[in-house]
Amino acid sequence: MAKSSIKIRAKLKGGVTTVKCLMNHPMETGLRKDKKTGNPIPAHFIQDVVAKHNDAEVMNAQWSGSVSKNPYLAFKFNGGASGDSVSISWTDNKGASESATAKIK
């Protein structure tokens, strides 16, 4: 997967930083069946998401397969300054991980 599999937008407004991000992931629950073969499609979903402001963790999320495909996540945190970095990283149930960093606008 390319490096751009997480898209992040971080915006500062009135001392509160709003971070919006989109990740590319199939988010299979494990309950769906392959229409052609009838075999269940194995679960494959993001389990952990960590959001950091500079190097300090502001939030971490733990997900199940019930989060939609190509997950969208938005959150806010206090503080932050223009030019600070915000990074998002995820790990899925197969151990794969991905991370990306963006600057606060």
Binding site: R32, D48, V58, K69, N78
Partner: protein, 158 residues
């Protein structure tokens, strides 16, 4: 046969006790632990009560109007239901998002760190019409609110 059954029961019991102990220990030592182990028991639980017990150690919560859930009244596509949870309660540690109608109700846990504001949005799958429940743990208290969402096409099937 008999001994085997007993062995199963014993194994089950000790496993469950072990998970609870680990969860409690992690909770006590580091309330905002960096990447706590993914609580499998909570996420695979089949009922909201079990899921909450697995995540927080207790399923009891008070209803609070201070938790606001923004979700559509009618979701045309159950595979993508946008949900936003906001709250002005101080000292929120964890926000749990559940969808009561799903096979495994616990959708997501958000552990708030330093400076994080209680305002999270995501998109979830809903198998059928049900309630979206937000449970907030703040200062040792459990508060919750719910909103019913009508789903016209389910999002958890083939």
């Amino acid at each position: 046969m008999n001994t085997d059954t007993k062995r199963r029961v014993f194994l089950k019991g000790s496993l469950a006790a072990g998970t609870v102990a680990v969860a409690a220990g992690a909770g006590l030592l580091a309330p905002q632990a960096v990447l706590a182990a993914w609580p499998e028991k909570a996420f695979t639980a089949k009922s909201s009560e079990d899921a909450l017990s697995g995540a927080f150690g207790s399923a009891a919560s008070e209803t609070s109007e201070q938790i606001k859930i923004k979700a559509p009244d009618i979701a045309e596509n159950g595979a993508v239901v946008p949900v936003t949870i906001t709250s002005d309660i101080a000292g929120i540690e964890t926000i749990a998002l559940l969808s009561t109608a799903n096979n495994a109700p616990l959708v997501a846990l958000f552990n708030m760190g330093q400076g994080a504001a209680a305002d999270v949005s995501t998109r979830i799958k809903m198998g059928k019409t049900g309630d979206v429940v937000a449970v907030v743990k703040a200062g040792g208290k459990m508060l919750s609110n719910r909103k019913s969402v009508k789903v016209t096409i389910g999002g958890c099937g083939g």
